[in-house]
Amino acid sequence: MNTLPIVDDPVAEPQTVQGRPRSTFRKRTRRSASRPALGWQIITIALLAMLASYFLLPVYWLAVATTKSPGDLTDSFGLWFKNPEPLTAVRNVLTYNDGIYLRWTFNSILYAGLGAAVATLLAAMAGYALAKYEFRGRNLVFNLILAGVLIPSTMLTVPLFLLFSKVGLADTYLAVLIPSVVSPFGVYLTRIYAESAIPNELIEAARIDGASEVRIFFTLSLRIMTPALVTVFLFQFVGVWNNFFLPLIMLTDENLHPVTLGIYNWTADYRHPEIAHLAIAGSFLSVVPLMIAIVVMQRFWRGGLTQGSVKG
């Protein structure tokens, strides 16, 4: 299943713009805390804990399985350690085939990091232009871009591959990077954010002071739009990192693979069970950084298309 990078943006909370997110958040949560009786609180927490274990259990299993030998994987209980040798597994993954795993990881970071950075900048420019300049056809352009949010990217990938093979772009870094720098969602988000967060008077004042449009954008507007930019970057990063269909179709050269595709090929190697076993530790290693990022960057995962529907 493909992810559309729609969720939750910082526009939802004007207090972030005013720079006091924390106090407002506390006040709000205190309200809900004072409401239900203790018994209900316990039932709620119990339910939440049960649900959390459903979401965490597979990842925990993966961590345990990483430390096991192929024999222990089938012979011992999956949720507890047996002869743990985490370093062996990690070493095997990192050294297999001259350290191709590290190369895949580097590729993933390149695709997701560079792709998301460029996507964010392009989206910010377009969103800002659509929010702050009046021109004919502005809404038409915006709606056409918005339609892109609803287009499943899997539908585009095969024809894009055929086009790319014609111009010699298939099986290159650019084959994955070019589609990754276009984020219609980013344009949507930066537009509604710029509209509400950047005062027109501020832009006018900068113009009177003689600043050029480009300078106003890069020194003033971009800075104000930062919370929205972080959100766009995060969703695009995860979107590109998690995308499997695009690299699967575009890339045959193993050296260009992102880590997801590389690991998949390991599991698909049925003739060599020891390679399939590498996929377990490989999966675990690849998942850890993203999980940390999700927890650390938690407060940026918010707002989004729903905000538009709230405003009507």
Partner: protein
């Protein structure tokens, strides 16, 4: 006037890079897929091996006719529609439950639980499928083992029905937390005064959910439903990864899988293009149909 012109130039300059790439990556492929779907490759001569020269000719609706005449493609289509029928309530129900529970919980616990629910979103679909793939294999899976001790003998990939639900489980696991986040954002936007007024009127927690929270997060529910419909109809990575582990999954298990097989195994890009177009049309029909139903109900 000179200011106006510089502004227009700036707007064009800011928009152009995105619009150009958007046309190249989104609009052009759609046009190209449609164009490809009306062509076919013909071999002159008797078509023995590579001896006949291949040429591309206009095919009219042949590819569409061919696609719709393939029972396995229709089966895949019906399967993903059935999948959406199961997955949408499962996904939206789980996400709503998570969001409402988080909204009701004491603040101290919220960040911890929210992260746990959202964590799977950071696990790529392929990795999630590999991971659950292990958890579905009886001699590896601790879940199957524990349930076996209680007398519940599961073989999650043993039959076509079991495989179907096992796939539904992976998709729910991956995206319920993500959808929850959309709902939580909208729940947080609800005006506190509404709760105060309700409490004065003697409303309990259940009344608040039923008459304030659910109606006010309706737009977010509609949105997550649309994206779940689109996502499930595009199902690819999960069955693709589990194909080797379940005999129930064939090379045209979902329309996307069928199109992939046509394009890369059978080398029939034209038929693949027609299949992709059919899927895209069906998807938009379903999501717009849903929006229409929702809109009609709201206007009544």
């Amino acid at each position: 006037m000179s200011i106006r012109r510089s502004e227009r130039q700036a707007a064009t300059g800011f928009l152009l890079p995105f619009v150009f790439l958007y046309l190249f990556v989104f609009v052009l492929p759609i046009g190209y897929a449609a164009y490809q779907s009306f062509l076919k490759t013909e071999r002159s001569g008797l078509g023995l091996g590579a001896s006949g020269a291949a040429r591309t000719v206009f095919a009219g609706l042949d590819n569409y006719r061919l696609a719709l005449a393939k029972p396995e493609f229709i089966d895949g289509m019906v399967r993903v529609f059935g999948f959406a029928l199961v997955e949408v309530p499962l996904m939206i129900g789980t996400a709503t439950l998570l969001a409402l529970l988080l909204d009701a919980a004491s603040a101290r616990w919220v960040p911890l639980f929210r992260s746990s629910f959202f964590l799977p979103y950071g696990v790529p679909g392929v990795i999630a499928s590999i991971l659950w793939g292990f958890l579905y294999v009886p001699n590896v899976s601790p879940i199957v083992e524990v349930l076996g001790h209680v007398g519940l003998n599961l073989d999650p990939l043993g039959s076509s029905t079991a495989t179907f639900w096992s796939l539904a489980n992976i998709v729910t696991w991956e995206f319920a937390g993500y959808n929850m986040l959309i709902l939580v954002a909208q729940l947080k936007a609800i005006d506190n005064e509404l709760y105060e007024a309700a409490r004065i009127d003697g409303a309990n927690a259940w009344h608040e959910i039923r008459h304030i929270k659910l109606p006010l997060i309706r737009p977010a529910i509609v949105l997550t439903t649309i994206f779940t419909i689109i996502g499930t109809l595009q199902l690819f990575a999960e069955p693709f990864v589990l194909k080797g582990k379940s005999t129930a999954i064939d090379s045209s298990y979902t329309p996307n899988l069928a199109a992939y097989t046509q394009a890369f195994t059978n080398n029939n890009q034209h038929l693949a293009a027609a299949q992709a177009v059919i899927l895209a049309l069906a998807t938009s029909l379903l999501s717009f149909g849903f929006l229409y139903l929702v809109g009609r109900k709201a206007n009544r």
